[in-house]
Point group: D2
Chain length 134, copies 4
């Protein structure tokens, strides 16, 4: 995957009594990495939310390949796979060194404040297309 | 403490790699138990929020005496200790059988939607006074 | 889906600033419902963990169809879709009344304490087959 | 407070439907900041856990003065207030710019793997005393 990534450390709050990171905790790191990816390419998701343009997760697929543990440093890599008129498919990998621990595909819808589907804003579309094709 | 309590079970999401319940996870159970306590005495906190009367936690004290573990059943006991004009002090105990695991004191402020202090609504005040004195 | 379900209420800790349940919070309810489903059919997942037989989630697919909100009551329905020699596919639906809010497919591997794949224990296999075919 | 601090950003997973950071979520940031504070002064809490020397939180006091919100950047400042033979009192402040949002006092016990109180290891004691007096 590409070079835009977020480095995170694992703390107790991420883990469970199985001694590894809890399966839902990875989703918090994935959220953070998606936000930072879009910020890095110049898109402010929080700013769109302020305008009533919201990107809820409508579909999620996760492969848990190997667990992260307390005090691990992980890197979350993010890229856009494809973009429809009202949705964006995002691929992510969580790695510890070279080992891929988790692979995730997240689909965002683009909706209004009333949760109705709406077209992805043109400026955002242009920027994302540049990243997909670049 | 009194008889109004909430029974909960401990699942993996409550625990951490230390093998016990994570210190912040108890606060979720305490929130649930406070909500259910007020519902049980006839006060709908969510209803007040809909009217722009909000009860944020402004102070918290917790004694962690003994840990809860995966698959434990806990009971959370709640009572109001005292009530000021714009605040309520709530005492809670989390028990496993007869053992007290956690003691907590939570102070709620009563604020408007603009986060300004406001008097506790009269109907709520009357109900809570009945519980304190009854 | 079948009649074995877990009823839960939504509290503030489940929600996010978007005003709805956070996408990872549903996974905690799904964990609880899987645990209670297996308990209801006579399988004690915590007991197997004590014997070093662990069922980590290795794959997850979630469709988020409609959001749950603060103070909602939800029901989580769980059934086993299929069982391999070392894995179990579980289907779940989270409903509010008749409305399906979330659909999830979770795949558990069966592994040893050393995280090596191992056959699902025979007693568990027999019980689960009875549920799939019954 | 001193200069050792952890900078964090607020994401949706930190917040609740009240539009602000959930009261228990701050405790995760406080945990991270304590861990990084001790690392910064040369103490590896995870390393001690590996030797069966554990520092559970036994007491917690939190003043919530003003809420953090989605997309805020916060800084968590940490210092040791005092040290007993088997316990450490830690003071923390969460700030957004110059505004103090949260003040917290956390007491760690020092216990063995069997959860029995034990003296704080001498090397750790010496380092912490240097910080308190320095």
């Amino acid at each position: 995957m590409n070079d835009i990534h977020l480095e995170k450390k694992i703390y107790y709050h991420d883990t469970d009594a199985g001694g590894v990171v809890y399966y839902a905790s990875y989703l918090k790191h994935l959220e953070e990495a998606r936000t930072e990816y879009f910020r890095a390419i110049g898109i402010d998701i929080a700013g769109y939310a302020g305008q009533g343009i919201i990107f809820p997760v409508v579909h999620l697929e996760v492969d848990y390949k190997s667990p992260a543990r307390y005090a691990d440093t992980i890197n979350i890599f993010t890229k856009v796979e494809k973009m429809g008129s009202c949705s964006i498919d995002i691929l992510q990998e969580i790695k510890r060194g070279d080992a891929v621990l988790v692979k995730a595909r997240t689909v965002w819808a683009c909706v209004s404040a009333q949760m109705k589907p709406r077209r992805i804003p043109d400026d955002m579309r242009k920027t994302v297309e540049g990243e997909i094709n670049g």
